[in-house]
Symmetry: C2
Subunit: 306 residues, 2 copies
């Protein structure tokens, strides 16, 4: 069966109902911009998964080609990212809460003790490779994501936001409830996106102080590799007023990443090189300028919470 790589597979969805509770000012206004501003977070997922991913993402952050990124705390290269975070206190780094280990040659497991989170583990003791849920127990999910946040903190990482690797925490109301509860407790903004058809049970979990994004853009396997630049150029051209996040996966198409992602061209090494090439290109920068896009970070949103 084809593995799915769903960085934001099922995003939370809010209905107009939530707006009745919400702040009357838009996020743009609260940040001091005109109400029809097009605000954009350019977000690199999957830091710590591989050196190649880290190197490309750090480079994009350093060049301000990405404004924000999130870290997979259980992954082997966490120390490399923690060192970068210490050296770059202004880098906008969140936690990409991780409950899957999806590549076939290269695996990782929980931060928690394995016998405290057995429902999260495959028979080898790594996280499950897919998002088929496997009866993940919400109390074990909560234990594990708290352990990830605490480990990051102990290593000097001060996250600006939370999101969910492969969308696992968006996939069930009970897991979404854990995500929202923990984010509220740590006073961190979290990825959630406005939409018209939200299940009411999810809405009930949100507070009127939660900062809901207006849209998400992410390349998916339907985008042909020859159309990569055009896909992003169109996305920029079609940005609407409000807060959008473009989610990219940055890496170099090198021996390490090719081996991690072997036999999996979707979100594979060449894919990540294409994403890196686009976001660091002069054409992409010019498209942002031509379309009056205002780049923001998750930390801008975090300041609205505190």
């Amino acid at each position: 069966m084809r593995r799915l790589h769903l960085s934001v597979a099922v995003l939370l969805i809010t209905s107009p109902l939530i707006n009745s509770f919400a702040q009357t000012k838009t996020i743009a206004e609260r940040l001091g911009y005109p109400p029809d501003s097009k605000l954009l977070i350019i977000h690199a997922d999957d830091l710590a998964v591989a050196h190649s991913e880290d190197a490309a993402s750090f480079d994009a952050l350093d060049k301000h080609a990405a404004t924000s990124a999130s870290i997979m705390v259980p992954c082997p290269w966490l120390n490399e990212v923690a060192a970068y975070a210490k050296q770059h206190p202004d880098a906008d780094l969140g936690l990409h809460l991780t409950l899957t280990s999806e590549w076939k040659t290269y695996r990782w497991g929980p931060v928690e003790s394995k016998d405290k989170v057995p429902s999260l583990l495959d028979p080898s003791g790594s996280f499950w490779p897919d998002t088929n849920q496997h009866n993940l127990k919400p109390e074990e999910v909560e234990r594990e994501i708290r352990a990830q946040i605490e480990l990051a903190a102990s290593m000097g990482i001060h996250p600006t936001h939370l999101d969910s690797h492969m969308g696992v925490l968006f996939s069930r109301p009970d897991l979404f409830a854990v995500y929202v509860k923990v984010a509220h407790e740590y006073k961190l903004p979290f990825l959630a996106v406005r939409s018209a058809d939200a299940p009411k049970e999810l809405l009930a979990m949100l507070s009127d102080r939660d900062l809901i994004l207006d849209s998400i853009v992410m390349a998916d396997p339907k985008v042909d590799s020859s159309n990569w630049k055009a896909f992003y150029a169109n996305a920029i051209k079609n940005l609407k007023p409000g807060v959008t996040e473009i989610i990219v996966h940055l890496g170099h198409d090198d021996a390490e990443l090719q081996a991690v992602m072997v036999d999996h061209p979707d979100y594979g090494a060449a894919w990540r090189q294409r994403d890196y090439n686009v976001v660091t290109s002069p054409e992409f920068k010019k498209a942002l300028q031509d379309n009056q896009v205002i780049l923001i970070k998750w930390n801008d949103l975090k300041k609205l919470l505190n």
Copy 2:
């Protein structure tokens, strides 16, 4: 403090006493060779630590430039090695029992549940980075090395032998006792080397059926990089009758391995490239032939046990 990388830091040492219990025939004779034969295992350590290490080691095994290798079961690339083992059932693969996580950017932890092996873990939940022992509890060491052996077996790896990453299991009598007990139980030969000055408490742990090697050769930081070929050429020239193991660390000097081993030239990426270059060179092959060296595998020794 400088980290030590001691693949065979403190090898077990046996005294002439042990010989009085031993088989009257030498290993060479038991394998059907003349008693004065120079038998050699060319052994690649550290499989599964990184893709670069795996790629170089698999290549050397495929070319018969290395006769044997051992696997770090807790490391992220275990699945890559397990796939190789399945595709190469004759590959001579042992387990490099691992109780340290010594690189600063890139870490791994236990196979066992963390709460069952707390003395093995640093504050981040990875293995300790060094061999300073940190009051490792022998019962936790036993639990962890049994978990490593069982995980390897569950993934279709049938080990030919056991040895110890950075020599942790050779460093204390109580840990050595665990190593010997577990090896005996699994009927696996294990790395131990003959010497004249063995502590009697270690000798008491050995059986007269144990297969003791006569010497070990391994490059160390005293070998200048410009003398790499000469170091190995001399080692081959000076081989004595009996069983010797040359321990090498094979890798490519590429972005991944440079990042794993950053700031650590000893046993670093360039070091591993040099080892790879030597063992795969025509000169090395010729030196083996010129010196009438007989290449053997750990599986040859394993057959003597069963």
